[in-house]
Symmetry: C2
């Protein structure tokens, strides 16, 4: 018998973090008797008078949203990071170590329409979201006290999202958090050795193999990374090695919008539901250095495994040992690739 990635338990190496995961392809057939998620009601009005993100409505502390018509960005009313924190560190025999952290948290409404999500928005409006990401990245990043800007979206109650109005968040802070810090180490080591970005060469291998490609256009590729942890995890990346979003040209930003639209439509079509995920951009720290090793990309981490109600639990072994998955990345990519490119809600009309 020959070792076969589609059949035999194995470990895969994550190039971006330098960590391993366990893949158990044979286990995808086990019966599921555990928790089932409650499908979310998916009929929302275009405007909800009780929603604190809708145009004109009141937020926490009595602040009123403007009657916005495109995107709308504001300071998070319950920010995890604050701009003014007294400097300070704690170091007790090197064993208890802490340091003050400063930063800012912002919220981005993607659309005034309460009933939409990215896959249901017009291409031009998705492009509008990308333009706000760029503007915020630049605006926050110039502050010398902000060395990393994390742009992300939690979609669906399953991902801790407390309001279905289409929106994302930005947490920008003094230090570079662990995940992008690991990615910097890995990308820098590769760049110093090869003179090209890690993701340039990785993308080339993926385009040759084609097995894990979900979607491609002239400037962007969506794929299930070889080391994907979540069942339908994907990586969205530009063909050209740019370190951060403002380095994308106009055509590239249009292609980015199309890739986002095509991926999220497929996600919704997978189980014919508004597909939950956490997603976010990883890009160059805003510490003023050029970071030629950095290759901008976007991660999508969706929790669902088999249906709208059965999720993958990252618990027990995963918390104490290594991340683990059952279905292979190749199988997931094939599944996503084969889905209709028109949103199921619009397909009938």
């Amino acid at each position: 018998m020959e070792f076969d990635l589609a059949q035999h338990p194995h470990r895969r190496f994550n190039q971006l973090t330098g960590e391993w995961l366990l893949v158990s392809p044979h286990r995808s057939l086990r019966p599921w008797q555990g928790q089932q998620e409650k499908p979310e009601a998916d009929t929302r009005p275009p405007y909800d008078p009780g929603c604190y993100l809708c145009p004109g409505n009141e937020r926490a502390g009595g602040i009123q949203n403007p009657p916005y018509t495109g995107t709308f960005v504001f300071e998070n009313d319950f920010a995890a990071l604050q701009p003014e924190v007294p400097e300070g560190t704690l170091d007790k025999q090197g064993l208890l170590r802490a340091e003050a952290e400063s930063g800012r948290c912002r919220v981005i409404c993607f659309s005034p329409r309460h009933d939409l999500t990215l896959p249901e928005m017009a291409l031009a409006d998705i492009r509008g979201v990308i333009d706000v990401w760029e503007a915020e990245y630049l605006r926050l990043g110039v502050d010398p006290h902000i060395n990393y800007v994390q742009i992300f979206e939690n979609k669906g109650t399953m991902m801790g999202c407390s309001n279905p109005h289409p929106h994302g968040q930005i947490w920008a802070q003094r230090t570079v958090p662990g995940e992008p810090a690991k990615e910097t180490v890995q990308q820098l080591a590769y760049f110093e050795q090869h003179g090209r970005t890690l993701l340039t060469d990785y993308l080339e291998v993926e385009l040759q193999e084609q097995k894990r490609i979900v979607f491609e256009n002239a400037h962007f590729v969506v794929l299930v990374p070889f080391w994907a942890v979540w069942p339908f995890e994907t990586l969205l990346l530009p063909r050209r090695a740019v370190a951060s979003i403002e380095q994308l040209d106009d055509a590239e930003k249009d292609a980015f919008a199309e890739a986002l639209q095509q991926l999220t439509i497929r996600y919704d079509n997978l189980f014919q539901m508004s597909f939950p995920y956490s997603a976010g951009l990883h890009q160059r720290p805003t510490d003023g250095l050029p970071h030629h090793e950095w290759h901008l990309h976007m991660h999508f981490y969706p929790p669902l495994l088999r249906s709208a109600t059965v999720r993958k639990f990252m618990v027990g072994y995963e918390m104490l040992g290594d991340p683990q998955r059952d279905i292979t990345p190749e199988w997931a990519a094939e599944k996503l690739r084969g889905l209709p490119t028109v949103h199921y809600k619009q397909a009938g009309s």
Copy 2:
């Protein structure tokens, strides 16, 4: 204003993994409008004819459980790891890397009683569970193909547990997974520098400060680690630096059982419910080396934050940046320390 861990956003350093987390104490007051968990029904019969873990019942594939009266261990019918896997590696330009992984997965029933959980079991029966952990660790560990034995429990549907019958799991494998590998690096560096285990010295600081101690007896201490990620995360550790479970003497194993009982009773009493968590032992890899740097300990990772129905979501920023918490470890420890030491179900009787 002075920097204050109880008030100001800050980062803390995890000594065991070498990673940081973000603490936002001021944020614990934000309102929660997101997903609420469905409280689990907590009235189970002592024997359930439909449960595949109860004594005498049939499991997958028609295997029948013996009429066991204490603990009962068997090979997982849907094992993520298999003992016989064809050797093999994949290495495509260093960019796609995988290797075959072999191992075994076992299930441990803690009790024949379908309606019990650890905190409701008699002390002698909890000690029985510890003895099985030891026996399995030794039995699996002598196999030269098994270099790490991960013992753990997923409790509650919220933690992906698919059967409420009290049970845990063991995944034992050829390689050392990421979490214990990181802990080896950190503990080894400390041991080489100081000639004592990292956790010996850490425990000394904690015992001086007392702020994060939940429970202590002659041989074991339960505390909320300074770097805890989950709201009510705890660390259970022996005062004496032993590398693995078979090095505990009889009195220490009794003390371990009491610590387990006292901690899990407090957990159940916190929200007056059967408290969900993933928990597991971290100990010396079974690679035949003495690993004097290793200090056996047990982690408890419970998901709940504010009540039986509001959990902490590790999503978005946490997946893409760093783990984040709102309530401080000191606050959580004080809360747990103050809870009654008799299980709420037994308190009335």
